[in-house]
Homo-oligomer: 295 residues x 2
């Protein structure tokens, strides 16, 4: 099979798989107040590229992990990601009305229910992780909790909000994104890899370097697509960062410069995988996809 | 020593202890964006009766647990509680401006920072729990996550918000409170007890019955104090439930009826402790305190 086709098939299979795992992980109507359960399911299912679960599955494959074990860490990371989108879209945060091609959760269910749905999804992520039969559960919890907390995603979002209307220097913009999206992407990779054989220190470092570069590349490309993409293909409002006066890679580097930076990060990410050999093929292909995607 | 004095000393020591544990668990300035870290610390420290940590320490004492192990579960539960207060006070939820005798977190730091501080505190709770060297970490995570999520605290708050302006029958009002506050109080008791010797099924059931009755009593008394207390002693707005048209035990039963219900729950809670014998003394005293407190 053509490698591109084989990769597309692999992605499709894993996306279908995680959809099923998320569906089973989410509460059903009888397990909570109807609007809250509906909002939680709405915020998670039928949408998203599932980049973080794909990274977790790919990292699991580099170390011969059982995909059934990776399922739980992939779902946990995606639940954290989904909750963060619900909260980020709230009026007091980024005030976005469209997400994954649908009205944002707070538009569909009201602010209070959206806020609670986000809260409940974060709690659920930690419940789901407990099902993962991981060899080092305490380590996994620290990794996921730190990635979500003030040194990770929540901290990055706080810096992002404080930066509206200012010009962050490139280094600070990168720090913000390493926290806001990079920390959770690193968690996806490291947690996926924690489901298999024990890593050497060099292999762990290789995965971290890969995740840092791929995560940042993802954000740089997001900034480019926010300028070049359409709301139709992106499934969310575009051009909003510029209108809100948010610092972006495009604002600092221009579109061509941002594309160059993304390309350099792809090379860095793929170079980092060398110690892992051919088993890291899917991770390498995901780096291609992250940089070359059009949505 | 007079038993009342001995209990007061015990409470004071444990409250001081948990304050120290929470202080060390929270991030310091260098570990995140300054306003976010400040908001997290503001929302947790120097306030609160620490009912849940006290219950965790008391439950730990019934099974000979090492207080140093209980520290982590007590802190985790209190962090969840503190985050829920921050989110509950937000304008799109209960819209409260005063909490623990100070301006609510969103008044002091703005809505976005308060929202993120709550999010980061929830993540931190799960990180702190991982430090607890618990014999059954996966079980502990399920317990805490379920208590915080849509079948517990977040679900109860959703029912509470939906109930504004309606009259819930007593049974539904109790169900709401069993989710909104009862689930986390049960988690405090069960997690505290999980730090010691293995419980028999009957002992586990005894603790659950105790926690359910004590948790509900706490809420009934809260409703009474919302009518009878002053903002000064309570440290938060009072009389607000009635103004907002929220269903309360006082609205359904009157003040005298609510006090009777609280008293019956105290008897039930203390009766449930019999299989645990004298080792459950602090839990029994906490039930007294929950019902007889004036703030």
């Amino acid at each position: 099979m053509n490698p591109d086709v084989a990769f597309a098939v692999w992605c499709g299979e894993r996306q279908q798989r995680i959809e099923h795992v998320l569906d089973r992980s989410l509460p059903v109507a009888a397990e909570g107040p109807a609007p809250l359960v509906a909002a939680m399911r709405y915020a998670v299912l039928d949408g998203g590229k599932r980049v973080r679960p794909l990274l977790a599955y790919a990292a699991g494959e580099t170390v011969g992990a059982d995909p059934a074990v990776v399922d739980q860490v992939a779902a946990a990371v995606e639940l954290i990601h989904a909750y963060s989108l619900v909260h980020d879209d709230l009026p007091c945060m980024d005030d976005d009305t469209m997400r994954r091609g649908k009205p944002a959760c707070h538009v569909a269910f009201g602010e209070a229910t959206a806020l609670l749905a986000g809260d409940a999804l974060q709690a659920l992520a930690f419940v789901v992780l407990a099902r993962g039969r991981l060899p080092d559960l305490a380590g996994a919890y620290s990794l996921l909790g730190d990635a979500a907390g003030c040194r990770g995603m929540a901290g990055g979002q706080a810096i992002d909000l404080a930066g509206v209307g200012t010009t962050l220097p490139l280094r600070e913009l990168e720090t913000m994104h390493r926290m806001k999206t990079g920390a959770l992407i690193r968690a996806a990779v490291r947690l996926g890899a924690s489901c298999g054989r024990v890593l050497s220190a060099a292999e762990g470092e290789a995965l971290d370097t890969f995740a840092a570069a791929a995560g940042l590349a993802f954000q740089v490309v997001d900034d480019v697509l926010d300028v070049e993409g359409s709301a139709d293909t992106m499934g969310k409002s575009v051009g909003k960062d510029a209108r809100q006066g948010k610092p972006t890679f495009v604002a600092l580097l221009g579109v061509a410069g941002a594309r160059e930076r993304a390309e350099a990060l792809r090379v860095e990410a793929q170079g980092a995988l060398r110690p892992l050999g051919g088993s890291a093929r899917r991770l390498s292909e995901l780096a291609d996809w992250i940089v070359l995607r059009d949505r």
